[in-house]
């Protein structure tokens, strides 16, 4: 990625503590204009805190926050060109749908006609044209969510922050809102920063994902990059299903785990460095014993709609999760097969910069 464009938001070594509890430590990242970003991480990892720092509801103890290249640490929330969609919608219960959406434009003292046109445009965008005069109490959860989106967008922000906006919706509605949100972002061309702890949602929606844990960004990248090349145990475990075993990187392109050597595609580590090895369940195949790289016994099997999730145990007692299109029978001994490209090796405590540099060094050529 050659970043010639000025980032719209930049964090430089931002830190924050509440009563001696460090919440964020040295957080640095850049957000480019016009993309769909996701902050993904478990509860308490600091996702909302980052949004609150961007919107100005919280102020940083350390570091700089830049907006369009200018430091905004001391700009109050009401003056930032950022708006937020809150998890519980936070709609104004004493106002109609129209007045909720018109709240921002009215504060700007725009002419009445302009406000009316803006509100109608926004309600059309979220497909709620007919609901102008409804009271907030008369809306369903999904409709409230749409009003919240329209209200935040009516202010024409450069960046829209969305804090777990879909988590209160049922599965079907959530899927539908995911694609609508994505479509709205593409259509308006503004930056979305979306918070979720649902990894599937993050992978499906984002141009770029930040994985957070414990107040730190663990890894950032495109969904495919992060899925294929997780930097550490936490990311591998958090994103998708994975089998993680300990191993030793004997030399470039040769790794040893469960007592055997395997060819792989990773390089740039010290000889005989202890590592962790990730194999994704969908990359593993169950084959006749003689064709497999490992011999395993099927321990459990459950039907998951479009695949069978199978748990198999190798002779060393390691558990392997496998996604298979065909059923097996519990107790059967079968071969487990995978290719060099399915093996992903992770070093302990490798920083993101070192990780990127190392990947670059042997993949770049």
């Amino acid at each position: 990625m050659d970043k010639k464009v000025l980032p719209v938001i930049e964090f430089k070594n931002v830190g924050l503590s509440f009563d001696n509890n460090t919440i964020l430590k040295n957080v640095s990242f850049e957000i480019e204009a016009g993309q769909f970003y996701t902050l993904l991480g478990p509860s308490g990892s600091g996702k909302s805190t980052i949004l609150n720092l961007i919107s100005g509801q919280l102020s940083a103890d350390a570091g700089e926050i830049l907006f369009d290249g200018k430091v905004i640490n001391n700009i109050p929330a009401e003056s930032r060109r950022v708006n937020t969609v809150f998890q519980n919608y936070a709609l104004f219960p004493n106002m109609t749908v129209f007045d909720n959406v018109a709240f921002g434009p009215k504060l700007k003292k725009l002419p009445k006609d302009t406000i009316k046109a803006k509100v109608r445009e926004m309600l059309a965008l979220v497909k709620l044209e007919a609901f102008e005069n409804r009271a907030i109490q008369e809306l369903s959860g999904g409709q409230k969510q749409r009003v919240a989106i329209a209200r935040a967008l009516a202010n024409e922000p450069d960046v829209l922050l969305l804090d777990e906006p879909l988590s209160a919706l049922d599965y079907k509605l959530r899927k539908q809102m995911q694609s609508e949100l994505r479509a709205i972002q593409k259509r308006l061309g503004i930056t979305f920063i979306f918070v979720t702890h649902d990894q599937e949602e993050a992978l499906a929606m984002s141009d770029w994902i930040f994985i957070m844990n414990d107040g730190k960004i663990q890894q950032n990248g495109t969904p495919v990059d992060i899925y294929d090349e997780p930097i550490n145990h936490f990311v591998a475990d958090f994103i998708g299903e994975s089998n993680i075993v300990n191993g030793v990187m004997k030399q470039d392109y040769l790794v040893n785990f469960v007592g055997k050597d395997f060819e792989n595609l990773d390089a740039g580590m010290r000889p005989n460095e202890a590592v962790e090895v990730v194999l994704r369940p969908e990359d593993l195949d169950l084959v006749p014993i003689e064709q497999g790289k490992l011999v395993v016994t099927i321990a459990d099997q459950s039907f998951r709609g479009d695949f069978y999730e199978i748990t198999a145990i190798d002779d060393d007692g390691n558990e392997w999760k496998v996604q298979a299109t065909n059923p097996s029978s519990v107790g059967a001994r079968v071969g487990l097969d995978f290719g060099p490209e399915d093996i992903h090796v992770m070093r302990f405590n490798e920083s993101e910069d070192d990780f990127d540099a190392r990947i670059e060094s042997y993949e770049g050529e």
Binding site: E78, L91, A152
Partner: protein, 269 residues
Amino acid sequence: MKDNSRAKIFFAIPYISWLAVFVIVPIGLLIYQSLTNVQGSFTLANFHEFITSNVYLPMAFNSVFYALIITLITFMISFPAAYVLSHLKHRQLWLMLIILPTWINVLLKTYAFLGLLSKSGIINQLFSTFGLGTHNLLFNHVSFIFVAVYLELPFMLLPIYNSINEIDPDILKASRDLGAKPINTLSQLVFPLSINGIKSGIQAVFIPSLSLFMLTTLIGGNKVMTLGSAIELHFIVTQNWHMGSTIAIILILAMAVTMYFTRERGKRK
């Protein structure tokens, strides 16, 4: 179903008896007294006198006027105070400090003010120490209003505080997020969303203020004549229970009117 409703009636017996003995019967007696004269015959003369003599109407006006002023001042102190309070860190402590004085008997607090404000009281001692001389701080309209406001303040503040506290903090965050200055948030969200608390506060202050009588004597030095003091006068001094009851009935009507105008409207779940 039947058993259930019987059980309900059973549990309601203590309350209904209480209501009958201490509310319905006394009001009945008041009405009876107000509609009779010394000879015990029915008459509207008491009400007629209330309206035509030039004693009671000014008194009624006075009562409403002072109650309004007391309500207004307590509101103007309480609303901003409640808003600030709801944002404080140790609000339980601050709240305690407001509630605590309400546990002390009103009469005791009133006497405390007599001590504070009298000619030889602490305030005047301070004044004279600084060479400002001593002043008559008691027995005037201002001292009456001041002490009444002091006594009534918690009853305005607490309901307002409670309803402000119930506002989802995200709503206030959203308002700021959309560009609202604190004054916009206050007028467009906090005020309308705490209107029921404000109404309760107004009820809790305005209605008792209509019938203040102890304060009028002790602190107001009888410079302030209200309907409350008139009732006291008729029942205790002149022993004219018929006129006293008439004033009481009119006061009750005034309270009912106040309740009507400050009732909760459009209650939503």
